[in-house]
Symmetry: C2
Subunit: 419 residues, 2 copies
């Protein structure tokens, strides 16, 4: 069997561990020189494929590839660029195949979330329609943890560990200050439509009265009066109150509590600021001094505090994608299958891309307490193993020592293409 | 010599390592039962002394006290409560001495920043005037790093490590996204009047083009046009731009760029939001999509990422305070003396409280680059050792395992006192 090249791209918002997947994938590919020639990475994701801007990962040393395992962000660049439907924009898909053909690419690995799995599925379809032999494998990645058919999504566990740690630590701080100063602390976290990250904050509350006291989920319509009553109760009982709020918090009419009004390339609203809205509401109505934090990119890039479980799964999925491809599995996504909760046991599985694409996994309602302000025991059982273990990066000069790729471009063979 | 009891209080904003100082102090005191009876901690700082609300630390186990070394926040509670001048409020000082007399307190340890050193000095004065034998020792603590006569202030090194790590990590993230999405990332950090924390962000930039690209110091008046030109230059050159901005950024007229209008108990303006103001300015004028983060309490409570140097100094200062007191040194603050930059060597020193009280150490102008947007080599030489080394806490269930004190109250001997 002749070796063919592979294409790998990172898509959408990056995470603390997406490079661990790249590491696993490239290391696995290097173990199969008889089947896989070079791994070409798309510079800035799928845009790199469209514009024939490919990075030759064979120019990266083994040490540099190994260091990807502990480096956050997307080492080859990512993008927010969603290919339209095949009917609408068939030329783009044909261009992809043209580039793949020019560089003898027989394997297409796409590392992303819902939108990306949809793209990967469409690419597999068009390759089939054009009679171009291509094995397409999706690899899950999203801090939103909202892909179906997998126990969890790489990136989420590390965000979960970060936000739970952060609100625990801030809780110790505000508890100290509450007598004469700050009584309220609000942490705004990511999660547009699903409250997985908000729920993860709840892991920090292991005993009665432990922060966070209140979680505000995007799934539960915000009722100011009921919320304020709970805040008041916490302050009376514990002397202070800590709140974790999802950026996607909505009112009963489905309107975002804070919407900056601008939208990203996928048409999603760009959020931010609900933490301050909620904190200011408390100040206005109850008179308590507040502090609030906006974790933003810090939460999804905090490789220094990654979950070891998350890193291991991200790496294993990269390896598994190569295995699946070499088994000739096409149009599938590598998945995590949970075998046991505690101690947590998992294995690699697979799911058809057609069943994954554009399906969003919501938080089960039974993961949220009846009053809507916290997580249930079932939720804790699900989440707990995902934050387990530490995997600190090496440090140099007191700071995490991360790697940057050389990013050597593959020589172009086709004419210019404008997207 | 008869053993007398000691009083210890934490004051002002807490840090990731103030409890390491408490740990060192209490452990050292326990080694001298012939000289020091019990260590009573003020519940919620000096308020605990005024209201005779004392915590008997002898009720805390050795293990619990040891765990303070890795626990953030103020384990006994802190407060923002500044005693007025002796002439204005002599009764409060006399009350303190009355409480100390009732509980045979011969040692007064005050762990705080500028305001606290002023209070400690005044307490030493009033004790002398009243003929009450009391040894007063101040112990520095402030993330603002603005106390004089000490190489640095415990708490700062860990914030420095956290903010530098955070902006490095976020820089890896935004670099990945810049092609089609976020090009600008702004991190707002603490530091009302001195740019030490802002400067620390600069440590992450070890090579040309490495984040953060721009630092906005409280010492340098904000000039929007010049700032925007630099942002534009960064985006053109690197594809993105990362900015660290101090909460205390001012315009040429000394007005805060973002001032929420409310003030804390010391009359300081309560800040927050300048990060978004600066980011939105970039969006409005240059059109780039931005993300911004507000680290707030996360930066000063992030014990999980503490600087080992900072923890060691905080602990050593607690031990040193006991040593100084037992040597009969009164009205002094324990300090850190730098002996060498690299490798960093330091020893414990002392400074008269009278020379420390209310003096604010500013960033030297030569620590800021000529253009005002970054740090100099001299600044790097000063800061580098302060973030050196890691000292991770123990983890349980995937999260840092911190301790809470039992907080057993000492039986009151005096009548009620209202502050």
């Amino acid at each position: 069997m002749t070796a063919r090249n592979a294409f790998y791209a990172q898509s959408g918002g990056v995470t603390a561990v997406i490079n661990a997947t790249a590491c696993g994938l490239i290391q696995a590919a290097r173990r199969h020189p008889d089947r896989i020639g070079k791994v070409f990475a798309g510079r800035d994701g799928i845009i790199g494929a469209l514009t024939e801007d490919l990075i030759d990962t064979s120019c990266e040393s083994d040490a540099a590839i190994a260091a990807l395992r502990h480096t956050p962000g997307g080492a080859f660049g990512s993008c927010r660029y969603k290919l339209k439907g095949i009917d609408q924009h068939r030329a783009q898909y044909e261009r992809l195949i043209e580039v793949f053909r020019a560089h003898d690419i027989g394997y297409f690995f796409y590392n992303g979330g819902n939108d990306s799995m949809d793209t990967a599925w469409k690419v597999s379809q068009i390759a089939g329609a054009l009679g171009y032999p291509l094995t397409c494998v999706g690899i899950p990645k999203t801090v939103d943890n909202d892909l179906p058919h997998t126990d969890c999504c790489p990136g989420f566990g590390s965000v979960a560990k970060y936000v739970a740690t952060s609100i625990r630590e801030a809780g110790y701080d505000v508890a100290s200050m509450a007598r004469t100063s700050t009584k309220i602390f609000v942490l705004e976290v990511m999660g547009r439509h699903a409250g997985w990250i908000t729920a993860a904050c709840g892991l920090a509350s292991e005993g009665a009265g432990e922060p966070p006291h209140i979680l505000l989920f995007p799934e539960i319509p915000f009722e100011p009066e009921r919320f304020l009553a709970r805040v008041d109760e916490c302050v009376r009982r514990y002397g202070y109150c800590t709140v974790a709020v999802s950026e996607g918090l909505c009112d009963a009419g489905g309107r975002l509590i804070a919407d900056s009004g601008s939208r990203d390339a996928f048409g999603h609203a760009q959020l931010g600021g609900v933490g301050q809205v909620v904190a200011q509401l408390i100040k206005d109505k109850l008179g308590h001094k507040y502090h609030w934090a906006l974790a933003d990119y810090l939460q999804r890039s905090a490789r220094h505090l990654a979950s070891r479980t998350d890193v291991e799964q991200a790496y294993a999925l990269g390896v598994a994608a190569v295995d699946l491809a070499l088994q000739g599995k096409n149009a599938v996504m590598a998945t995590i299958r949970r075998l046991a909760d505690a101690p947590y046991r998992w294995e690699i599985g697979e799911a058809p891309l057609a069943e994954v694409a554009n399906v969003e996994r919501k938080m089960p309602r039974e993961f949220i307490s009846d009053d809507g302000f916290h997580i249930t025991a079932a939720c804790r059982t699900y989440l707990q193993p995902l934050i387990d273990g530490e995997d600190p990066p090496p440090y140099r000069n007191g700071l995490p020592d991360y790697v940057r790729m050389r990013g050597s471009a593959v020589k172009k063979k086709l004419g210019t293409y404008t997207i």
